[in-house]
Symmetry: C2
Subunit: 423 residues, 2 copies
Amino acid sequence: MSDTDSVFQGQARAARAASRDLAPLTRARKDAALHAMADALAAHEAEVLAANALDVARAADAGTSSALIDRLRLTSERVASMVAGLRSLAALSDPVGEVVRGFSTPTGVRITQVRVPLGVVGIIYEARPNVTADAAGICLKSGNAALLRGSSSALDSNRAVVAALRTGLTDAGITPDAVQLVEGGHEVTREMMRARGLVDVLIPRGGAGLIEAVVTGSSVPVIETGTGNCHLFVDATADFAMAESIMINAKTQRPSVCNALETLLVHADIAAEFLPRALAALAASGVTVHADPSVMVFVPDDHDVQVVPAGPGEFDGEYLSLDLAARVVPDLDSAIEHIRAHTTGHSETIVTRDTRSADRFVASIDAAAVLVNASSRFVDGGEFGFGAEIGISTQKLHARGPMALPEMTTTKYVLVGEGQTRA
Amino acid sequence: MSDTDSVFQGQARAARAASRDLAPLTRARKDAALHAMADALAAHEAEVLAANALDVARAADAGTSSALIDRLRLTSERVASMVAGLRSLAALSDPVGEVVRGFSTPTGVRITQVRVPLGVVGIIYEARPNVTADAAGICLKSGNAALLRGSSSALDSNRAVVAALRTGLTDAGITPDAVQLVEGGHEVTREMMRARGLVDVLIPRGGAGLIEAVVTGSSVPVIETGTGNCHLFVDATADFAMAESIMINAKTQRPSVCNALETLLVHADIAAEFLPRALAALAASGVTVHADPSVMVFVPDDHDVQVVPAGPGEFDGEYLSLDLAARVVPDLDSAIEHIRAHTTGHSETIVTRDTRSADRFVASIDAAAVLVNASSRFVDGGEFGFGAEIGISTQKLHARGPMALPEMTTTKYVLVGEGQTRA
């Protein structure tokens, strides 16, 4: 740390030094550290819950919504889940050291491309304190030092969680600077976003506003995650029962997450037959439909449906609730056109029995995931069998879709010769 | 194009539309287009050379250095080389459509991760007009629309080259909007750098100043290429003849490129023996050594050496000329420390006979390429057998090292089910 460093710069330099210790660690050392972090977190549960109670009380005094307080609140079960998450990371294979490819030059220089850690990873996130342990664990397993910039509303919780994790690191003989909490006002977030050279990558986790601010304000490379305005197009040839089941699952199985359905598009040829049953099924599941005029004409008088007229901009946001925008489109091309105009590049689905429609939809839609006859809720690191994920990337560079341990690494080319020179 | 679009925004929207046509093209269609572009460029050689003569005359009037004028100048051979470059791209396999991996969920949803084009790629580059054809060809083969922002000093040349390439595209039945030249003052470059959503990635190609400006000023994701302050560490156990041969090759085989050697570090134990012969060999190759005081004590009086004292900051820049900074370091750790402080993350080399030194150097140096007993001039897409490269990435995200056709793509997950929903 130089004399003129800010507190954050001192932390970032300590993280860089820690990252150099982490990079060559064997899997056994990292897995032992993850278990030690889990042990320490379990041992300090009382301190963590007490600290969390302070955050929750402060939030309640400030009139925070009950939904936000629920995200902030830790319970014995939630701490146990954080502990289990750290242990499950130890069971995953180590991405570091994987040889991605290898070949030789004509003169016999042997070249291997090997996975190495990114270095120093900054995570900027909102209220959920469980992210603190998840992100720290994923960074440690992938050999990266973590600079955790949590929300001020969760400060006491995050301090207690990080203190426990650092105790675990120390117990495992690893520098606690591998996991650091970044504290301070908004100016520290800005400092983090301009810390090119000190921080290798920033990953924002949270709402669309947070992600937009980080993406547009950072000179540090950013991996954009999470916003999902996911569409389902029910084609003219769709199996209605399948379409209904996928629609209900994608919308209601967990409405608050990024791979939940937000917009329903229905082919005009089947609207009169499909929409009444779809609207009834949605109402039965508690979903309010925000209907374009093209849908309104198909709303039956005699059903118990929950339909309101779509407002301006209705097709652009994420509800993250039991709400669904709906529109009738004249054909597949119009559906593709609508999705292109409104997609956030997360997960887009077609239900169809026509292979040509399926192929054209898949080829035409530019998103992290395109689905045929399956629920968008499958677009998830856990469902993919990745074991852990830091988020779902909706950008095209570096990683797209669920980001697991390999996506938390970069590669290095290693060239070994016996004195070869270039002719 | 909307009524309020600027000229650049209109171009970017046309590029997006073109990118949607390019994405599903078969390899055969793209290869035919590359040959048509090559044919058209060859057919318009006279126009291209005449336009280039205008640029060269303007540069000469402005007192431009002869080195810069040489980069700007096109000859019949250089046009032939651009034509051959386009044809050679047709011989390379198509990265688009490659299945990177595939697996199934427990419920039988089939998942494939498939390479798809990035979309709209912006290239911001300096005087060399040959980049115009190279970049257009690489973008086309990888299914991307290209927005080419060349230097104003090469405007007439670039216009002529792009006009020829667009004629070729039209001949091949592909929209000419796939390749567009972006014209205008610096404000257009700034507009391009803020065109998030319109442009998918920006790749700056040129000097360190250009790259720094694009990297720090863009909200569009950037792939940083090219700056190489490359080091060679001659370890205590090095074979002197090998070290000398690698040093001379890396420094002199082509001094103006990013993988050329810029700094020599010599282990103190062998400095008295190795340095006099190294300095003599460098002098014989016309290299001026910028020597740290630690080297000065080993400069022989009786040799014909070219040594000047190193100035402040001598170890930080790229010479890109027959100059070389040199320092004696007490041991391997000091060499690693020096490289960590001064590296641009391109290519770093050790010459040693000690496997432990080699392993520690490889593990400790964080760069796109780390070399043992081979010349850094091998760090090149051509030498790697990649066939074409858009540049050498020195960043950690997305691509690191030589960027070939696969690095010009992203991936998309395609999920195909029979109605599966998430439990």
